[in-house]
Protein backbone atom coordinates (compact mmCIF):
# COMPACT_ATOMS: atom_id res chain seq x y z
CA UNK A 1 0.00 0.00 0.00
CA UNK A 2 1.50 3.33 -1.12
CA UNK A 3 1.85 6.16 1.35
CA UNK A 4 1.84 9.69 -0.01
CA UNK A 5 3.35 12.80 1.50
CA UNK A 6 1.04 15.81 1.64
CA UNK A 7 2.97 18.94 0.57
CA UNK A 8 3.73 21.45 3.32
CA UNK A 9 2.19 24.36 1.42
CA UNK A 10 -1.05 23.78 -0.45
CA UNK A 11 -1.73 27.12 -2.01
CA UNK A 12 -2.10 29.07 -5.25
CA UNK A 13 1.58 30.06 -5.35
CA UNK A 14 2.55 26.41 -5.35
CA UNK A 15 0.18 24.99 -7.96
CA UNK A 16 2.78 22.80 -9.70
CA UNK A 17 3.47 20.83 -6.53
CA UNK A 18 -0.14 20.74 -5.40
CA UNK A 19 -1.45 19.48 -8.75
CA UNK A 20 1.32 16.90 -9.03
CA UNK A 21 0.24 15.60 -5.63
CA UNK A 22 -3.44 15.62 -6.65
CA UNK A 23 -2.68 13.62 -9.80
CA UNK A 24 -0.47 11.21 -7.85
CA UNK A 25 -3.16 10.29 -5.32
CA UNK A 26 -5.92 10.03 -7.95
CA UNK A 27 -3.84 7.45 -9.82
CA UNK A 28 -3.28 5.38 -6.64
CA UNK A 29 -4.72 1.89 -7.17
CA UNK A 30 -5.79 1.34 -3.56
CA UNK A 31 -9.29 2.06 -2.28
CA UNK A 32 -7.92 3.84 0.76
CA UNK A 33 -5.45 6.53 -0.32
CA UNK A 34 -3.23 7.19 2.66
CA UNK A 35 -1.40 10.49 3.01
CA UNK A 36 1.00 11.61 5.68
CA UNK A 37 0.13 15.19 6.60
CA UNK A 38 2.84 15.72 9.20
CA UNK A 39 4.51 18.47 7.19
CA UNK A 40 1.30 20.33 6.33
CA UNK A 41 1.79 23.96 7.31
CA UNK A 42 -0.51 26.17 5.27
CA UNK A 43 -3.58 25.79 3.06
CA UNK A 44 -5.14 28.74 1.23
CA UNK A 45 -8.54 28.97 -0.54
CA UNK A 46 -7.16 27.53 -3.80
CA UNK A 47 -5.61 24.69 -1.81
CA UNK A 48 -8.88 23.97 -0.02
CA UNK A 49 -10.73 23.84 -3.33
CA UNK A 50 -8.14 21.58 -4.99
CA UNK A 51 -8.15 19.16 -2.06
CA UNK A 52 -11.95 19.04 -2.09
CA UNK A 53 -12.08 18.57 -5.87
CA UNK A 54 -9.46 15.83 -5.65
CA UNK A 55 -11.47 14.01 -2.97
CA UNK A 56 -14.57 14.34 -5.17
CA UNK A 57 -12.60 12.71 -7.98
CA UNK A 58 -11.41 9.95 -5.65
CA UNK A 59 -14.98 9.31 -4.51
CA UNK A 60 -16.14 8.99 -8.11
CA UNK A 61 -13.51 6.26 -8.50
CA UNK A 62 -14.68 4.47 -5.35
CA UNK A 63 -11.64 5.62 -3.37
CA UNK A 64 -11.22 7.63 -0.22
CA UNK A 65 -8.53 9.88 1.20
CA UNK A 66 -7.14 9.16 4.65
CA UNK A 67 -4.94 11.77 6.31
CA UNK A 68 -2.51 10.80 9.03
CA UNK A 69 -0.34 12.75 11.47
CA UNK A 70 -1.86 16.10 10.69
CA UNK A 71 -0.81 18.84 13.13
CA UNK A 72 -3.73 19.56 15.48
CA UNK A 73 -4.00 23.30 14.75
CA UNK A 74 -4.21 22.89 11.02
CA UNK A 75 -6.65 19.98 11.41
CA UNK A 76 -8.94 22.23 13.44
CA UNK A 77 -8.70 24.94 10.80
CA UNK A 78 -9.48 22.53 7.95
CA UNK A 79 -12.38 21.06 9.93
CA UNK A 80 -13.77 24.55 10.59
CA UNK A 81 -13.47 25.35 6.89
CA UNK A 82 -15.52 22.19 6.17
CA UNK A 83 -12.77 20.54 4.15
CA UNK A 84 -13.17 17.18 5.90
CA UNK A 85 -16.92 17.28 5.38
CA UNK A 86 -16.37 18.03 1.66
CA UNK A 87 -13.86 15.20 1.44
CA UNK A 88 -15.94 12.66 3.34
CA UNK A 89 -13.20 12.36 5.98
CA UNK A 90 -14.38 11.50 9.50
CA UNK A 91 -13.05 13.99 12.00
CA UNK A 92 -14.09 14.24 15.61
CA UNK A 93 -14.42 17.95 16.26
CA UNK A 94 -13.37 18.56 19.82
CA UNK A 95 -14.29 22.23 19.60
CA UNK A 96 -17.56 24.12 19.75
CA UNK A 97 -18.82 25.42 16.41
CA UNK A 98 -20.01 28.95 16.97
CA UNK A 99 -22.03 30.60 14.25
CA UNK A 100 -19.37 32.69 12.55
CA UNK A 101 -21.17 33.51 9.32
CA UNK A 102 -19.96 37.09 9.69
CA UNK A 103 -16.26 36.40 9.87
CA UNK A 104 -15.50 33.02 8.40
CA UNK A 105 -16.02 31.69 4.90
CA UNK A 106 -16.34 27.93 4.72
CA UNK A 107 -15.50 25.95 1.63
CA UNK A 108 -18.56 25.53 -0.54
CA UNK A 109 -19.42 23.17 -3.37
CA UNK A 110 -21.89 24.36 -5.97
CA UNK A 111 -23.72 22.17 -8.46
CA UNK A 112 -26.81 24.23 -9.34
CA UNK A 113 -26.88 27.47 -11.31
CA UNK A 114 -29.94 28.51 -9.31
CA UNK A 115 -27.70 28.84 -6.25
CA UNK A 116 -24.99 31.04 -7.78
CA UNK A 117 -26.38 34.35 -6.50
CA UNK A 118 -26.93 33.14 -2.95
CA UNK A 119 -23.54 31.45 -2.75
CA UNK A 120 -21.66 34.47 -4.14
CA UNK A 121 -23.53 36.87 -1.85
CA UNK A 122 -22.97 34.71 1.25
CA UNK A 123 -19.26 34.37 0.51
CA UNK A 124 -18.79 38.07 -0.22
CA UNK A 125 -20.75 39.18 2.86
CA UNK A 126 -18.79 36.80 5.07
CA UNK A 127 -15.50 37.94 3.59
CA UNK A 128 -16.23 41.64 3.96
CA UNK A 129 -17.74 40.99 7.38
CA UNK A 130 -14.48 39.43 8.50
CA UNK A 131 -12.69 42.74 7.98
CA UNK A 132 -12.76 44.99 11.02
CA UNK A 133 -14.34 48.42 10.77
CA UNK A 134 -16.65 47.88 7.80
CA UNK A 135 -20.25 48.55 8.74
CA UNK A 136 -22.94 47.60 6.19
CA UNK A 137 -25.13 50.39 7.61
CA UNK A 138 -22.50 53.13 7.29
CA UNK A 139 -23.35 56.34 5.43
CA UNK A 140 -22.84 56.44 1.66
CA UNK A 141 -19.76 58.08 0.23
CA UNK A 142 -20.87 61.22 -1.63
CA UNK A 143 -18.40 60.74 -4.48
CA UNK A 144 -19.16 57.10 -5.23
CA UNK A 145 -22.65 56.65 -3.81
CA UNK A 146 -21.33 53.52 -2.08
CA UNK A 147 -20.82 52.78 1.59
CA UNK A 148 -17.30 51.67 2.61
CA UNK A 149 -18.79 48.19 2.99
CA UNK A 150 -20.15 48.15 -0.56
CA UNK A 151 -16.92 49.51 -2.02
CA UNK A 152 -15.43 46.14 -1.16
CA UNK A 153 -18.55 43.98 -1.36
CA UNK A 154 -19.39 44.94 -4.96
CA UNK A 155 -16.10 43.95 -6.65
CA UNK A 156 -15.98 40.74 -4.61
CA UNK A 157 -19.53 39.64 -5.31
CA UNK A 158 -19.04 40.62 -8.95
CA UNK A 159 -15.98 38.40 -9.30
CA UNK A 160 -17.56 35.46 -7.46
CA UNK A 161 -20.71 35.60 -9.57
CA UNK A 162 -18.83 35.68 -12.85
CA UNK A 163 -16.43 32.90 -11.84
CA UNK A 164 -19.28 30.64 -10.74
CA UNK A 165 -21.25 31.49 -13.85
CA UNK A 166 -18.30 30.44 -16.00
CA UNK A 167 -17.79 27.21 -14.05
CA UNK A 168 -21.41 26.08 -14.26
CA UNK A 169 -22.11 27.18 -17.85
CA UNK A 170 -18.97 27.00 -20.03
CA UNK A 171 -17.54 24.26 -17.84
CA UNK A 172 -20.53 22.04 -18.55
CA UNK A 173 -20.10 21.87 -22.29
CA UNK A 174 -18.67 19.01 -24.32
CA UNK A 175 -19.95 16.13 -22.20
CA UNK A 176 -19.25 17.64 -18.77
CA UNK A 177 -22.87 18.31 -17.80
CA UNK A 178 -22.29 17.17 -14.21
CA UNK A 179 -19.35 19.52 -13.57
CA UNK A 180 -19.39 21.17 -10.15
CA UNK A 181 -17.51 24.11 -8.66
CA UNK A 182 -15.73 24.62 -5.35
CA UNK A 183 -15.33 28.05 -3.90
CA UNK A 184 -13.37 29.37 -0.95
CA UNK A 185 -12.10 32.75 0.20
CA UNK A 186 -10.11 34.22 3.05
CA UNK A 187 -8.97 37.59 4.32
CA UNK A 188 -5.44 37.66 5.75
CA UNK A 189 -5.38 40.61 8.11
CA UNK A 190 -1.62 40.69 8.67
CA UNK A 191 -0.99 41.39 4.98
CA UNK A 192 -4.35 43.06 4.29
CA UNK A 193 -4.72 40.50 1.51
CA UNK A 194 -7.84 38.80 0.14
CA UNK A 195 -7.47 35.41 -1.57
CA UNK A 196 -10.29 33.63 -3.31
CA UNK A 197 -10.58 30.64 -5.59
CA UNK A 198 -13.18 28.97 -7.77
CA UNK A 199 -12.28 25.59 -9.18
CA UNK A 200 -14.31 23.29 -11.39
CA UNK A 201 -13.99 19.86 -12.92
CA UNK A 202 -15.59 20.77 -16.24
CA UNK A 203 -14.41 20.83 -19.85
CA UNK A 204 -11.73 23.50 -19.34
CA UNK A 205 -11.00 26.50 -21.55
CA UNK A 206 -9.85 24.36 -24.47
CA UNK A 207 -12.93 22.15 -24.27
CA UNK A 208 -15.12 25.24 -24.31
CA UNK A 209 -13.33 27.17 -27.07
CA UNK A 210 -11.92 24.37 -29.25
CA UNK A 211 -14.15 25.25 -32.22
CA UNK A 212 -13.73 29.00 -31.90
CA UNK A 213 -12.62 30.65 -35.15
CA UNK A 214 -10.04 32.79 -33.32
CA UNK A 215 -8.37 29.88 -31.55
CA UNK A 216 -5.34 29.51 -33.79
CA UNK A 217 -3.13 28.06 -31.04
CA UNK A 218 -5.17 24.98 -30.15
CA UNK A 219 -3.51 24.37 -26.80
CA UNK A 220 -4.72 24.81 -23.23
CA UNK A 221 -2.58 27.92 -22.89
CA UNK A 222 -3.84 29.32 -26.19
CA UNK A 223 -7.46 28.78 -25.11
CA UNK A 224 -6.81 30.38 -21.70
CA UNK A 225 -5.35 33.47 -23.38
CA UNK A 226 -8.29 33.64 -25.79
CA UNK A 227 -10.81 33.42 -22.93
CA UNK A 228 -9.43 36.68 -21.55
CA UNK A 229 -10.07 38.64 -24.72
CA UNK A 230 -13.25 40.71 -24.89
CA UNK A 231 -16.27 39.29 -26.68
CA UNK A 232 -14.80 35.85 -27.12
CA UNK A 233 -17.61 33.41 -26.47
CA UNK A 234 -18.21 29.73 -26.96
CA UNK A 235 -21.56 30.43 -28.70
CA UNK A 236 -20.60 33.22 -31.12
CA UNK A 237 -23.42 32.49 -33.55
CA UNK A 238 -25.87 34.32 -31.24
CA UNK A 239 -28.43 31.58 -31.69
CA UNK A 240 -30.22 31.11 -28.39
CA UNK A 241 -31.92 27.89 -27.55
CA UNK A 242 -34.88 28.29 -25.24
CA UNK A 243 -33.17 26.25 -22.54
CA UNK A 244 -29.99 28.35 -22.55
CA UNK A 245 -28.87 31.65 -21.24
CA UNK A 246 -26.78 33.94 -23.45
CA UNK A 247 -23.10 34.71 -23.25
CA UNK A 248 -21.31 37.90 -24.17
CA UNK A 249 -17.74 36.79 -23.52
CA UNK A 250 -16.74 39.75 -21.39
CA UNK A 251 -16.84 38.41 -17.82
CA UNK A 252 -13.22 37.27 -17.55
CA UNK A 253 -12.03 40.37 -19.39
CA UNK A 254 -13.66 42.57 -16.75
CA UNK A 255 -12.18 40.52 -13.90
CA UNK A 256 -8.73 40.68 -15.48
CA UNK A 257 -9.08 44.46 -15.65
CA UNK A 258 -10.31 44.65 -12.04
CA UNK A 259 -7.35 42.56 -10.91
CA UNK A 260 -4.98 44.71 -12.92
CA UNK A 261 -6.36 47.93 -11.43
CA UNK A 262 -6.08 46.56 -7.90
CA UNK A 263 -2.54 45.37 -8.65
CA UNK A 264 -3.60 41.85 -7.77
CA UNK A 265 -2.63 38.48 -9.19
CA UNK A 266 -4.88 36.15 -11.14
CA UNK A 267 -3.91 32.53 -11.79
CA UNK A 268 -5.86 30.66 -14.42
CA UNK A 269 -5.11 26.98 -14.67
CA UNK A 270 -6.59 24.59 -17.21
CA UNK A 271 -5.21 21.44 -18.79
CA UNK A 272 -1.43 21.49 -18.73
CA UNK A 273 -0.80 25.19 -18.07
CA UNK A 274 -1.34 28.00 -15.62
CA UNK A 275 -1.40 31.56 -16.86
CA UNK A 276 -0.42 33.94 -14.09
CA UNK A 277 -1.17 37.63 -14.61
CA UNK A 278 0.06 40.26 -12.21
CA UNK A 279 -1.19 43.82 -11.85
CA UNK A 280 0.61 45.98 -14.37
CA UNK A 281 0.26 43.37 -17.11
CA UNK A 282 3.12 40.97 -16.35
CA UNK A 283 2.32 37.51 -17.67
CA UNK A 284 3.88 34.22 -16.57
CA UNK A 285 2.73 30.95 -18.10
CA UNK A 286 3.98 27.69 -16.60
CA UNK A 287 3.37 24.00 -16.95
CA UNK A 288 1.38 21.95 -14.48
CA UNK A 289 0.31 18.35 -14.17
CA UNK A 290 -2.96 18.17 -16.13
CA UNK A 291 -6.07 19.54 -14.44
CA UNK A 292 -9.40 18.62 -16.00
CA UNK A 293 -11.42 21.80 -15.59
CA UNK A 294 -10.51 25.33 -14.63
CA UNK A 295 -8.66 26.75 -11.63
CA UNK A 296 -9.21 30.45 -10.98
CA UNK A 297 -7.32 31.91 -8.03
CA UNK A 298 -7.12 35.59 -7.21
CA UNK A 299 -5.30 37.61 -4.63
CA UNK A 300 -5.39 41.32 -4.02
CA UNK A 301 -4.68 43.97 -1.49
CA UNK A 302 -7.98 44.77 0.20
CA UNK A 303 -7.32 48.47 0.20
CA UNK A 304 -6.65 48.58 -3.55
CA UNK A 305 -9.61 46.39 -4.49
CA UNK A 306 -12.01 48.80 -2.83
CA UNK A 307 -10.79 51.52 -5.19
CA UNK A 308 -11.94 49.56 -8.24
CA UNK A 309 -15.24 50.75 -9.69
CA UNK A 310 -17.18 48.48 -12.02
CA UNK A 311 -18.47 51.39 -14.11
CA UNK A 312 -14.95 52.70 -14.73
CA UNK A 313 -13.82 49.26 -15.89
CA UNK A 314 -16.85 48.92 -18.17
CA UNK A 315 -16.29 52.36 -19.67
CA UNK A 316 -12.63 51.56 -20.34
CA UNK A 317 -13.61 48.40 -22.24
CA UNK A 318 -16.25 50.09 -24.32
CA UNK A 319 -15.17 50.40 -27.94
CA UNK A 320 -18.59 51.15 -29.38
CA UNK A 321 -20.48 54.46 -29.62
CA UNK A 322 -22.98 55.31 -26.90
CA UNK A 323 -26.38 53.88 -27.72
CA UNK A 324 -29.04 56.25 -28.97
CA UNK A 325 -32.51 56.44 -27.50
CA UNK A 326 -31.77 55.06 -24.04
CA UNK A 327 -34.07 56.63 -21.46
CA UNK A 328 -32.87 56.96 -17.88
CA UNK A 329 -35.00 58.47 -15.10
Amino acid sequence: MARHQLPAYIHARNLQTVLRFSSEIVSDKDKAVICDAVELTFVDPAGLCILAATCHKLASLGKKLELENMPREIARYLARMDLFKACGIRYDENFVRHNRAGDLVELCMLDKRANIDDCAARMAHALVGSIPGLDPRAKLDEMTGFSPYNLLYVPLVYILNEFLENALTHGRRGGFKDAVAWIAAQYYAAKDRICLAVIDDGCGFLGSLRKHQDLHDKTHLGATRLALLPRVTCNPDLELRSSETANQGIGLTIIKEMTNRSRGVIRMGSGDHVLELSGGGAERPYRITDWQGVILALEFKRDLLRQVNVHQVIKALRDLPSPQGLRFE
Partner: protein, 103 residues
Protein backbone atom coordinates in the same frame (compact mmCIF):
# COMPACT_ATOMS: atom_id res chain seq x y z
CA UNK B 1 -49.95 51.85 -21.54
CA UNK B 2 -46.97 51.88 -19.19
CA UNK B 3 -46.19 49.62 -16.25
CA UNK B 4 -43.45 49.58 -13.64
CA UNK B 5 -41.31 46.56 -12.85
CA UNK B 6 -39.41 46.81 -9.57
CA UNK B 7 -36.30 44.66 -9.86
CA UNK B 8 -35.59 44.80 -6.11
CA UNK B 9 -38.85 42.98 -5.41
CA UNK B 10 -37.51 40.00 -7.31
CA UNK B 11 -34.08 39.73 -5.70
CA UNK B 12 -32.83 38.93 -2.20
CA UNK B 13 -29.56 40.88 -2.36
CA UNK B 14 -28.90 44.46 -3.40
CA UNK B 15 -26.56 43.16 -6.12
CA UNK B 16 -27.73 41.57 -9.38
CA UNK B 17 -25.60 38.55 -10.19
CA UNK B 18 -26.31 35.47 -12.26
CA UNK B 19 -27.72 34.95 -15.72
CA UNK B 20 -29.93 32.24 -14.28
CA UNK B 21 -31.73 34.74 -12.04
CA UNK B 22 -31.81 37.37 -14.81
CA UNK B 23 -33.44 34.92 -17.17
CA UNK B 24 -36.33 34.39 -14.74
CA UNK B 25 -36.87 38.15 -14.67
CA UNK B 26 -36.59 38.47 -18.46
CA UNK B 27 -39.27 35.84 -18.93
CA UNK B 28 -41.59 37.94 -16.77
CA UNK B 29 -40.68 41.03 -18.81
CA UNK B 30 -41.53 39.21 -22.04
CA UNK B 31 -45.02 38.48 -20.70
CA UNK B 32 -45.42 42.14 -19.71
CA UNK B 33 -44.13 43.40 -23.07
CA UNK B 34 -46.86 41.43 -24.79
CA UNK B 35 -49.45 43.31 -22.73
CA UNK B 36 -48.18 46.88 -22.40
CA UNK B 37 -46.48 49.47 -24.61
CA UNK B 38 -43.75 50.48 -22.20
CA UNK B 39 -42.07 49.11 -19.08
CA UNK B 40 -40.27 51.19 -16.46
CA UNK B 41 -37.45 48.95 -15.22
CA UNK B 42 -36.89 50.25 -11.72
CA UNK B 43 -33.44 49.49 -10.28
CA UNK B 44 -33.95 51.57 -7.12
CA UNK B 45 -32.15 50.11 -4.11
CA UNK B 46 -29.71 48.03 -6.12
CA UNK B 47 -26.05 48.98 -5.87
CA UNK B 48 -24.60 47.18 -8.84
CA UNK B 49 -24.87 44.25 -11.23
CA UNK B 50 -22.75 41.94 -13.30
CA UNK B 51 -22.57 42.57 -17.01
CA UNK B 52 -23.88 39.01 -17.41
CA UNK B 53 -27.08 39.82 -15.49
CA UNK B 54 -27.85 42.96 -17.50
CA UNK B 55 -26.99 41.18 -20.74
CA UNK B 56 -29.36 38.33 -19.94
CA UNK B 57 -32.09 40.79 -18.91
CA UNK B 58 -31.78 43.48 -21.60
CA UNK B 59 -29.20 42.26 -24.14
CA UNK B 60 -31.13 39.10 -24.92
CA UNK B 61 -34.31 41.12 -25.48
CA UNK B 62 -32.38 42.99 -28.21
CA UNK B 63 -31.13 39.75 -29.75
CA UNK B 64 -34.67 38.34 -29.84
CA UNK B 65 -36.76 41.42 -30.72
CA UNK B 66 -34.23 43.80 -32.27
CA UNK B 67 -32.77 47.10 -31.01
CA UNK B 68 -36.15 48.90 -31.21
CA UNK B 69 -37.28 47.04 -28.12
CA UNK B 70 -35.17 49.46 -26.08
CA UNK B 71 -37.57 52.26 -27.02
CA UNK B 72 -40.20 50.46 -24.98
CA UNK B 73 -38.02 50.43 -21.85
CA UNK B 74 -37.35 53.19 -19.34
CA UNK B 75 -34.47 52.65 -16.89
CA UNK B 76 -35.19 54.15 -13.49
CA UNK B 77 -33.10 54.47 -10.32
CA UNK B 78 -29.89 53.15 -11.88
CA UNK B 79 -26.63 53.37 -9.95
CA UNK B 80 -23.60 54.52 -11.91
CA UNK B 81 -22.48 50.89 -12.36
CA UNK B 82 -25.85 49.72 -13.64
CA UNK B 83 -26.14 52.70 -15.97
CA UNK B 84 -22.70 52.03 -17.46
CA UNK B 85 -23.42 48.33 -17.92
CA UNK B 86 -26.78 49.01 -19.60
CA UNK B 87 -25.01 51.37 -22.04
CA UNK B 88 -22.35 48.76 -22.77
CA UNK B 89 -24.82 45.91 -23.24
CA UNK B 90 -27.23 47.88 -25.44
CA UNK B 91 -24.36 49.11 -27.69
CA UNK B 92 -22.80 45.73 -28.16
CA UNK B 93 -26.01 43.72 -28.54
CA UNK B 94 -27.32 46.27 -31.06
CA UNK B 95 -24.11 45.73 -33.08
CA UNK B 96 -24.51 41.95 -32.72
CA UNK B 97 -28.09 42.11 -33.95
CA UNK B 98 -27.17 44.25 -36.96
CA UNK B 99 -24.22 42.01 -37.84
CA UNK B 100 -26.31 38.87 -37.62
CA UNK B 101 -29.05 40.31 -39.81
CA UNK B 102 -26.67 41.59 -42.50
CA UNK B 103 -25.66 38.03 -43.38
Amino acid sequence: MQTAYLIAEHTKDHFLGSRFRARELREELEVLLARVDEIVLDFTGLVSATQSFIDELVGVLILIHGPDIVQRLVFKGCSEDIRAIIGFVVSSRTEDFKRKNQH
